[in-house]
Symmetry: C2
Subunit: 399 residues, 2 copies
């Protein structure tokens, strides 16, 4: 159930255009601030070549005293050496000065084209401006979500609320563009906020769990960017005390729903995509095996291009299962596409191919279901097709 | 040095159209036969979902008494269950009957669209026909190379000769289309022949070594097909006795050259490709690390589309190095594109981007050189770019 796009208690946000991007309508600076010391945890890119803000933020979490996350878009501050690190630290210090806290209590993210130094003079003017506009309104939340965007065509927000211990607890998240979908190398960023009371240890476990089931289950073209970051902030403003098991479980469910919704909206906004594809893999011995098969099918250029052509090409899907390295044979595989049984226990079955293809042509959503007979574990992955438009966007000279 | 396209001594080949493909000009059946019992070894797809011919041939090698390899194109006989296995065994028996040998001494390959049963009646007429046409001429060799083709636009052959122990030793190979480049799912197949005297053990070691440096170093879109097979046949017809160390080394060099030339011609004929890309990775602790980086860069959709657009996008290449899992930092990376230094020890350098881009526009070949500072090992990989034409070809409905 989607609520209004409210911020949790104890948060104020803002987004502005400070001049990193050429067009004044495109915001390029976002600030997520808390009213007091808050729990913050993060999950960052596994790319060994990572942006300076990732290096700076990774050192500062988990932490119980964070006051803000500052994000610039339009210029990723990655592969910029020692000066890039100085720029990232300077950004946190500039924000800390406005909020009256220590620089170490500010986290930083950056997204956009890599390999260019940050235009510090623009941020010098922009940071006071964005700090001045901090507010706890839905509009301020939307502005912060816009300030993170690169080639995204819409801002990505998600909110859930529930009662915990007699208090209304809110989880609100904002995210931007998937993986490296952008012509100039983009990033997947998300900030998730809650007013529940969470220790850094609790928050860390919860974030890792939900990221594994949301942002780690989406894919555009398989390139993990240099700047991916997901940060969870817990202000504790509800003052509802430490969570019991039931409360923790319900909060985790909300976090799951918010991160899943943000992850899916990243795929819905993937560059040049014509189809939104859900891959369900069931019946494996381990979740890792199920995830590996789901990811390989979702990654497969030939599966993606078949779907672009509305072609229920089961051969490419079954063959992709086989190339994962998971110990299986075709006799273990049963495949449905949009509910139609196409391949059963190692052999193709008769089905109405024209009807399945027509349905794919007329509907954006494609559901691939793979049922194996090797165990009880499952995984779900979301991806998009690969179109001529994607190739065009990503092969245009960017300078 | 390319020789005339001669067969080694002790080999006869043929290729015909037997009606699997619609167009009578497209050959669809190839036969590679030896005059007497020959050494045969093979390397097959690592896809767990593999074609019936792979299952049948894999059981029969290494072997010292092989007499033929029969290959049909236009229909892959993969994912066809028990009947597919019967069909594959029947093909070898039908060839054995014509050659007067045991069925187990015949190997079989198959390539084309998967999931359809072989048209046995067409092969019943075709096998006697192809056996009758066996000859040791360059024309017969070319016909066999044509009989393996699917969406290939030219036949792929390579020949090397040298003197070993006073005798002329020849290595001749034929191959077809890379990985799963074809709209209907194709295959990489190669047959390499020599008249040198080789035991199955010697031949097996040599083949694995050269395949690792040739066919395992090419890539179109990263999908290992269900039917990939490389077979090495040694007739021993030169009767030059067991090879000494020098002879073995020189034979291995020839095998290397032949398989490398075939692998490169597969990439030169990749569907829809605009650029032929060589990725050289040097300076790693292990060859596995170097190979992993080379393969990841060669696989990367964003690197490929940048090259499609003649864009020397170093960020995508450096980031791809980082996402391999190999322990490295950007400070260890130096990058050249077509000889121009672009990124050095972790920082971009000034260079004439327009000149590099213009050169890419005017030349089909792109050379990516990555020099790291982590060791002495290197790897070379060949791939092609990813074009709108590739997506169009692979997203056309195939029925």
């Amino acid at each position: 159930m989607a609520e209004d796009m409210l911020l949790p208690q104890g948060f104020r946000t803002a987004g502005v255009h400070c001049g990193i991007k050429a067009d004044a309508e495109n915001f390029d600076l976002a600030l997520f601030a808390t009213d007091g010391p808050s729990t913050a945890v993060g999950v960052f890119t596994q790319n060994r070549v990572c942006g300076a803000p990732v290096k700076v933020s990774r050192e500062r979490v988990p932490r119980a005293t964070v006051r803000a996350v500052v994000i610039n878009s339009g210029n990723a501050n990655a592969c910029t050496g020692e000066l890039g690190l100085e720029d990232a630290r300077w950004m946190t210090a500039a924000v800390a000065e406005r909020l009256g806290c220590a620089a170490d209590d500010v986290l930083v993210c950056s997204t956009g084209m890599i390999g260019h130094f940050l235009p510090r003079e623009k941020l010098e003017a922009g940071i006071p401006q964005v700090a001045d506009q901090l507010a706890d309104t839905p509009e301020a939340f939307a502005n912060a979500a816009r300030g993170m965007m690169t080639t995204d065509t819409f801002q990505k927000q998600s909110v859930r609320q529930t009662e915990l211990g007699g208090k209304t607890v809110t989880v609100s998240g904002a995210a931007k563009g998937a993986a490296m979908i952008a012509p100039n190398m983009a990033t997947m960023l998300a900030v998730v906020m809650t007013d529940a009371v969470l220790s850094p240890e609790e928050a860390d476990g919860m974030l890792r769990d939900v990221v594994d089931r949301s942002f780690n289950c989406i894919n555009v073209e398989g390139h993990t960017s240099t700047s991916d970051s997901v940060i969870l902030l817990a202000s504790g403003a509800t003052e509802n005390g430490p969570l019991d098991d039931d409360g923790r479980q319900r909060l985790q469910s909300m976090l799951n729903e918010v991160t899943e919704e943000l992850a899916m909206s990243i795929i819905r906004d993937a560059e040049g995509a014509g189809h939104f594809i859900t891959v369900d893999v069931r019946g494996l011995a381990t979740r890792a095996d199920a995830h590996c098969i789901a990811r390989t099918v979702a990654d497969d250029v030939l599966v993606k291009t078949a779907i672009t052509g509305n072609d229920p090409n089961w051969g490419r899907i079954v063959s992709a299962c086989g190339r994962t390295g998971v110990e299986l044979g075709e006799e273990h595989i049963t495949l449905r596409i949009n509910g139609t049984l196409i391949y059963q226990s190692g052999a193709p079955v008769e089905y109405d191919e024209a009807a399945v293809s027509d349905f794919m042509r007329d509907n954006r959503d494609v559901h691939i279901e793979l049922d194996l007979t090797l165990g009880e574990q499952s995984a779900r992955f979301w991806t998009c097709d690969l179109t001529q438009e994607y190739v065009r966007l990503n092969s245009e000279l960017t300078t």
